[in-house]
C-alpha cells in the first residue's frame, strides 16, 4: 500500500459561531519555530473585526442573562472537549512555540486546568466581589458584579494556548463577550480552540477569534464605540503602539488592561481575581425598608 497523503486543515476565522475566511480574501503563511511552512491562516481585516464586534454585541444579552451555574457548566464543557483533542493541541503548540513534545503537552494540560479553574468561579465570583452594605438608614443595599459588555482581547504573542485561554476565560466567565486577536505568528492553537468552542454549547458570538495582526486590528478595536473594554496584552508594553491604543480607548471610556511590563507573565501561576474583576462592574441597588 502506498503511503497515504495527509489531509491538511484550512484555518479560518471564527465569527458569530461560523468559520468564514477573511472578507478581504487575504491570508498569511504560518511557520513553525524553525521557519518551516505550517499553514495559511486567514488575515482578518477591519471589516472582519467590526463583524466580530457585532456578533459579540448580539451574543451579550443572552450570555449575560444565563445563570452563572450554566456558564460554569459550559466552561467546564470546554475543558472536557479540549482534553479530548489534547494531542492535536500539543502538536500545534509544539510546532508554533518550538517546544519539546512533553513541555507542549504540559502547556495543554495547564490550559485545560485553567478552564476548569475559571468554570468553578462562575457562581462564586459574585459572592467574593459583591457585598451587602450597611448604610446609615432604613435601606436594603447590596452590590453585585455585572459584566462590562464586549471586550476586545489582543492575546499574548508568545503563549499561544495557555496565554490565550488565560486571557479569554476570565472575560466570558463573568458574562462579557469577547473579540480575540490571536497571536500573530502562532495562531493555529487559537483556531483549533475555536473549533472546540463551536461544539461546546458556548452560544455563537460569545467568543470570536480573529487571526492576523494586532498592530493592524488593534487600533480599530481600541477606537470602536461598541467595545467596552480592551486587553492590550498582545502589544508591547511601553511601545508607541500601546500608548496609541490607550489613547484611542479613551474615546468611549473603555476599561483598559495594559500589557505587563517586561516579559510575558508566567501563565502557569494561579491567576487571581484581577482579570475577572477588570471586566466586571459593581452595581449597587438600594431599596427602602418599611411596612
Amino acid at each position: 500500500m502506498s503511503e497515504r497523503l495527509d489531509i491538511h486543515k484550512t484555518y479560518k476565522l471564527y465569527i458569530g459561531g461560523r468559520f468564514p475566511r477573511s472578507e478581504s480574501g487575504r491570508s498569511y503563511a504560518v511557520t513553525d519555530a524553525e521557519g518551516r511552512f505550517l499553514a495559511n491562516a486567514a488575515q482578518a481585516s477591519r471589516k472582519d473585526a467590526r463583524d466580530a464586534v457585532v456578533a459579540a454585541r448580539a451574543a451579550f444579552p443572552k450570555w449575560t442573562a444565563a445563570a452563572a451555574y450554566n456558564r460554569g457548566q459550559i466552561l467546564y464543557r470546554v475543558a472536557e472537549l479540549l482534553e479530548g483533542r489534547r494531542s492535536q493541541f500539543a502538536a500545534e503548540v509544539a510546532a508554533g512555540e518550538g517546544l519539546p513534545a512533553e513541555r507542549a503537552d504540559e502547556q495543554v494540560a495547564r490550559s485545560i486546568d485553567r478552564w476548569v479553574w475559571y468554570a468553578g468561579w462562575a457562581d462564586k465570583i459574585a459572592q467574593v466581589l459583591g457585598s451587602a452594605n450597611a448604610v446609615a438608614g432604613p435601606y436594603f443595599n447590596f452590590s453585585v458584579p455585572e459584566p462590562t459588555g464586549v471586550v476586545a482581547v489582543l492575546a499574548p504573542q508568545r503563549s499561544s494556548l495557555l496565554g490565550l485561554v488565560s486571557v479569554v476565560a476570565p472575560v466570558i466567565v463573568g458574562g462579557s463577550t469577547a473579540v480575540v486577536v490571536a497571536a500573530e505568528d502562532r495562531p493555529l492553537p487559537a483556531v483549533t480552540l475555536a473549533e472546540v468552542l463551536a461544539t461546546s454549547d458556548l452560544p455563537a458570538g460569545v467568543v470570536n477569534i480573529l487571526t492576523g495582526s494586532a498592530a493592524e486590528l488593534g487600533p480599530w478595536l481600541a477606537a470602536h464605540m461598541d467595545v467596552n473594554a480592551i486587553d492590550l496584552g498582545g502589544v508591547e508594553a511601553g511601545s508607541d503602539m500601546h500608548t496609541d491604543l490607550e489613547r484611542r480607548a479613551a474615546d468611549n471610556v473603555k476599561r483598559v488592561v495594559r500589557a505587563p511590563l517586561g516579559d510575558e507573565p508566567d501563565w502557569a501561576a494561579e491567576p487571581g481575581l484581577r482579570r475577572m474583576s477588570a471586566y466586571l462592574e459593581t452595581k449597587t441597588v438600594w431599596h427602602p425598608m418599611g411596612v
Binding site: A65, N133, A136, N141, D244, V285, W286
Partner: protein
C-alpha cells in the same frame, strides 16, 4: 381663607468665618502663589466672597514633591492603625465645625443650606469615619493578599458637592497609605481649604494632604505630573476622556467618575405620591447639579397624565431663593457659565419641539437662577434626552412595557444611575438586573452612603468610590 406665608429663616452668614483671602495648602502650610490669584463668587448674589491663591506649575511641582516625600518617609511607613486615628480625628473635627462648613458651602456653591447642612457635611464626616476604620484592615478587604499604597494621588474634583467630593477622594486615599494633591473646582475652592485647616489642626503630618486651588490648567498640571502615581477625577465625561488620553502610556492608575443621563422609571403600580417626591428629589436636588440626577423621567403611558398633574402641583410648592434660608428648596445655579449652558440646552428643547413648563416662580434680581423646569413631548432623539444638562431640567418620556422601559433607559452612552418605581418586588429585581447603571435606586432616589459603592458603567467612568470596593482604586494589589 387666609394665606400663611413663610417667614424668612436665614442661617447666619457670620458662622462661615469668611476671610477675604485664602492661600493654597502645601507641605502643611498655607501660602500665596507666584502665579497669582482668582476670585470666588457667591452665585446667589454675584458678590465676590474671597480672593484665592491660584496654583501654577511651580506650585504643583512643589506639592507633588512634598507629597512624595511625606508618603515615603511618614505616611507610608506609619502603622496603619495610627493612620486610621488621624482620619477619625478629622471626621470628628468636621462634625465639630459642621455648621460653619455648611454655611460656607452654601455661600460658595449656591446650594440650599438644608442640603449642605443635612446631606453634604454629615456625609463628609461619615466618609472619614468609614475609611478611618479600613486603614488597619486592608488585608481583609478582599482585594489581594498584600495590598500596597500607590504613592501620590492627584485628585481633581467638581463644584457640585465641593467638600463631599474632597472627602470621597481624600478619605480612601489616606486610609490606604497614599498622600494627596487635591485640586478643588475654581468656582468652589473654599470648603476644601477649610478642610486643609482641619488637617493642620488635627496634626496630620505635613505634605500628606495638599490642596491646590485653580482651574483647568492647574488640574492638567496635577494629573500629568510625573510624580503622581494615581489619578482620580470626578467631572464631565469630556474632561474625563481628555485625562484618559493624557495619561496614555504613563502607567498611572486612573479612576473616573463622569457624567450621566439617568432614567427615573415610574410604573403604573407605583405609589404615586412617593414617586412624585422621588422625581423631585431626583432632578431638583442640588439644582440638578448631580451627575446621577434622574434627568429623564420615563413614565408608563397609562398614568402619565395623572402623574404629571401631581408633579406640576408639587413643583409649584418648591421655594426658590436665598440658599441660606432654611425654607429654600432650590438654590442658585453655580456659575454664569453653567447657567448659560442650561439656558442653551433648554432653548434647544424648545427648538426641537418639546413643550417647556415651569411653575410660576419669581427669580431674584441678582445671581444665577433657573426655575425648576420640565419638558414633555420629548423624544429619544432630542438633545435634552441625550445630553447632560446638569441643571433643574427634567425631560419626560413615556413607555408601555417593561422591555421598552429598559431599552429606553439603556439607550445612552452613560450608565451612572437609574431609578425604578413600582410596588412589585419581582419587577424591581428584574429591572435592576437589566439596567446598565452603577447605582439603581428602587422606590427611592439620590441616596448616598460611604458604605455604598458609587460609580458608573460605560461612559460614566470606571472604578468605584465608597464601600470596600472603593479601596481598590488606591491600592496596588
Amino acid at each position: 381663607m387666609s394665606t400663611w406665608d413663610y417667614a424668612p429663616a436665614p442661617e447666619s452668614r457670620s458662622v462661615a468665618r469668611l476671610r477675604t483671602s485664602y492661600g493654597m495648602f502645601v507641605g502643611g502650610e498655607f501660602g500665596d502663589s507666584q502665579s497669582g490669584s482668582f476670585k470666588t463668587v457667591n452665585p446667589a448674589t454675584e458678590e465676590v466672597l474671597a480672593e484665592v491663591a491660584e496654583a501654577g506649575p511651580a506650585d504643583v511641582d512643589r506639592a507633588v514633591a512634598v507629597a512624595g516625600r511625606a508618603q515615603q518617609r511618614v505616611w507610608g511607613p506609619m502603622p496603619p492603625a495610627e493612620r486610621g486615628k488621624y482620619l477619625f480625628r478629622i471626621a470628628r473635627m468636621v462634625q465639630e465645625r459642621a455648621r460653619e462648613l455648611a454655611v460656607l458651602e452654601s455661600l460658595d456653591n449656591g446650594k440650599p443650606i438644608r442640603e449642605s447642612r443635612d446631606v453634604d457635611i454629615p456625609l463628609v464626616a461619615a466618609h472619614f469615619f468609614y475609611y478611618a476604620g479600613w486603614a488597619d484592615k486592608l488585608a481583609y478587604a478582599g482585594v489581594g493578599p498584600d495590598p500596597r499604597p500607590l504613592g501620590v494621588a492627584g485628585q481633581v474634583i467638581p463644584w457640585n458637592f465641593p467638600l463631599l467630593m474632597a472627602a470621597w477622594k481624600l478619605a480612601p486615599a489616606l486610609a490606604t497609605g497614599n498622600t494627596c494633591v487635591l485640586k478643588p473646582a475654581e468656582t468652589t475652592p473654599l470648603t476644601a481649604l477649610v478642610l486643609a485647616e482641619i488637617c493642620q489642626q488635627a496634626g496630620l503630618p505635613a505634605g500628606v494632604v495638599n490642596v491646590l486651588p485653580g482651574a483647568g490648567d492647574t488640574g492638567r498640571a496635577v494629573v500629568t505630573h510625573p510624580g503622581v502615581h494615581k489619578v482620580a477625577f470626578t467631572g464631565s465625561t469630556e474632561v474625563g476622556k481628555e485625562i484618559a488620553r493624557a495619561l496614555a502610556g504613563t502607567g498611572k492608575k486612573l479612576t473616573l467618575e463622569l457624567g450621566g443621563k439617568a432614567a427615573n422609571i415610574v410604573f403604573d403600580d407605583a405609589p404615586v405620591d412617593q414617586a412624585v417626591e422621588g422625581i423631585v428629589n431626583g432632578i431638583f436636588f442640588n439644582q440638578g447639579h448631580v451627575c446621577c440626577a434622574g434627568s429623564r423621567l420615563l413614565v408608563q403611558e397609562s398614568i402619565a397624565e395623572e402623574l404629571l398633574d401631581k408633579l406640576k402641583l408639587r413643583l409649584a410648592t418648591l421655594r426658590l431663593g436665598d440658599p441660606l434660608d432654611k425654607n429654600t428648596d432650590i438654590g442658585a445655579i453655580n456659575s454664569a457659565a453653567q447657567l448659560a449652558k442650561i439656558r442653551e440646552l433648554s432653548d434647544v428643547g424648545d427648538a426641537e419641539g418639546a413643550q417647556r413648563w415651569s411653575p410660576p416662580c419669581e427669580l431674584p434680581e441678582h445671581g444665577y437662577w433657573f426655575p425648576p423646569t420640565l419638558f414633555t413631548g420629548v423624544s429619544q432623539a432630542h438633545r435634552i434626552a441625550r445630553e447632560e444638562i446638569f441643571g433643574p431640567v427634567l425631560s419626560v418620556l413615556t413607555f408601555r412595557t417593561p422591555d421598552e422601559a429598559v431599552a429606553k433607559a439603556n439607550n445612552t452612552p452613560y450608565g451612572l444611575s437609574a431609578g425604578v418605581w413600582t410596588d412589585k418586588g419581582s419587577r424591581i429585581l428584574w429591572m435592576a438586573q437589566r439596567l446598565r447603571a452603577g447605582v439603581v435606586w428602587a422606590n427611592t432616589f439620590n441616596r448616598f452612603d460611604p458604605a455604598s459603592p458609587f460609580g458608573g458603567f460605560k461612559e460614566s467612568g470606571f472604578g468605584r468610590e465608597g464601600g470596600r470596593q472603593g479601596l481598590e482604586a488606591y491600592l496596588d494589589v
